[in-house]
Symmetry: C2
Subunit: 398 residues, 2 copies
Amino acid sequence: STRLTWSLYTPRVINAEKSEFNEDQAACCQISIRRREPGLEEDEEWLILCSTQFLTGYYWALFDGHGGPEAAIIASNYLHYCIKQKLEEVVGGITEARPPMHLSRHCVCDSDPQFVEEKHIHAADLVVGALENAFQECDEVIGQEMEATKQTGGCTALAALYFQGKLFVANAGDSRAILVLKDSIVPMSCEFTPETERQRIQHLAFLFPKLLDGEFTRFEFPRRLKGNDVGQKVLYRDYFMEGWGYKTVEKADLKYPLVHGHGKQARLLGTLAVSRGLGDHQLKVIDTNIEVKPFLSCIPKVNIFDFARHDIKEDDVLIMATDGLWDVLCNKEVAHMVRSFLAENRTDPHRFSELAKRLACRARGKKRGHQWMLDDSHEASYDDISVFVIPLHNRDED
Amino acid sequence: STRLTWSLYTPRVINAEKSEFNEDQAACCQISIRRREPGLEEDEEWLILCSTQFLTGYYWALFDGHGGPEAAIIASNYLHYCIKQKLEEVVGGITEARPPMHLSRHCVCDSDPQFVEEKHIHAADLVVGALENAFQECDEVIGQEMEATKQTGGCTALAALYFQGKLFVANAGDSRAILVLKDSIVPMSCEFTPETERQRIQHLAFLFPKLLDGEFTRFEFPRRLKGNDVGQKVLYRDYFMEGWGYKTVEKADLKYPLVHGHGKQARLLGTLAVSRGLGDHQLKVIDTNIEVKPFLSCIPKVNIFDFARHDIKEDDVLIMATDGLWDVLCNKEVAHMVRSFLAENRTDPHRFSELAKRLACRARGKKRGHQWMLDDSHEASYDDISVFVIPLHNRDED
């Protein structure tokens, strides 16, 4: 089967300055979703087993841990199970052209199909809902597990599911998935960081000021304010502003900002570089009682790619990678490397794994003295780097 | 001057079934923003008057009232004043290539310009911030004024500002602005309705359940549930879901949903068809103590069109209209009417006002028996219809 052809490369050499473990984790498996015969009750389980049919999905996921690898390890062992469970709960609706109003298909109201049609509800919406619920359940399990074992930490989660002719990519964090097609690049995720989610985070602090315990200001300023800024009008943004304004600085504005810094330096409560992910239930701002979790979201944004609407070529691939890759390589550079490498190595049976390795090594750079440098003499990535290369052609061949 | 060439058409004939007044209001004016000499203190006001310079903006706005015309009338008299005020407060920053960290330009920190540059803050961001703040201030004033005069009601607000070579369109509600250019249509706003803002509204109810006073359910279902749905698994969405799931119906789910209905029938708390706008401070759900205002937002989304990046042709126009027009005509139909009418009437000095009238009359339809019908025998708009046609060519000629 070519279905599970994929290639992951995770070099284990670079993160030494931050932690002794590689905090990236990866998972990949086939997911079999049991399709219940409609109308059977729980106690007729033996009948179900006799007539079981399965729907098959294919799953790849990357988890970038922080504060230790534990959350990423649990997520890599458990998220696909949550997804399987949530899909099984709604499978009766997924196999219909239009999901029925009642999962039992016992209509209470004659115009049920019309209401479902008006809301434009399709089978794919049930898969999206299952992924959203699965992330939330996995987050709860991680919270329980980490509390029970007195461990701490969290992780980002990027999961791809090929199911019923569509690719679903669910993302919570700053990893990224893109499709590199012959003539185009299709972004399949966007990054959730304190900077991209500033307004959501500030709004929560506006609604619940106690969450900041008097230690932080919810306003954003271009830089940390100082004593001699007091009384001056400086650039600022509040939760409702995409634009900027000027605010007369008061003493309270000198507190550390809720969201601070720019780009890779942006931090939530001076603590975290991501605003979505799993875990971190016990995380507090250092030397305070302020919890970070209320500002985090475990809900993924799901993007769908429908293969029925595209003519997939032999070298078309899905690239999934943690921020270690994307910090130093942009989509265009990655796409260029993908296309030229695959065109030059059409007969190599290991070309996808070789490509994953090339991408990771390119981002890792080369050691020159004490520094890791890219080819163009920019600094290389010092973060963990994990890369999936997943070919899209011949998906359904055996 | 051709600068203030524009044409508004508001037929007053149709809304009779809903209210005896046309609840649409329009405003249009030149806004002169006083540019203070930097470094002058408040008590040197006389010096300011001696050296005053003005920046000029051009302003058009539509307000679609509900529950009476009063909020729309106040907004049409006051919003441009709020915008002028907010722009004057930041004008020292607008006239710089990069707004300075300190409005006084007295730098406290040498790297201030670098921080501003890293955050990509431009003069246009100050205009966006001024518009966001102006809407909020106008909403407060309407609240005070309506309370003092014991009036009720609210309105949507769509405001366009041509300023410093850019067009800023700020929208809170379900009116719409589009640019009809020679070869393209550029949407300049998106609609805010209980349906488009479902997740924001449900999330607020999740955070503050008391706002629903036990009378509403925050879950969305494709239709209103009935007694015999209890115990069944039905399609639903919660605040964190873009997809759909199945939920076992409990008795509490039979309550009226916070957001209910589809398209033009979608309602917030069974009461309002829009989720953003000005006013409604006193609005309660009928026969209850439940306030609607906490779920409404007065903050506009601002879109920018930079004329420096486009080659504007003679027939290119900005179309602004209330939902009465867009309910029955799509962007493409409007663009087709605009292009063909203007091409056929190139020499008519009143062609823009004639076009506004044509657009409104087309949406109003023709009376056949007791019904107003469109040309294609679909039902015409029964709502108020207001249309601005604003030519974009020769903007800065006198």
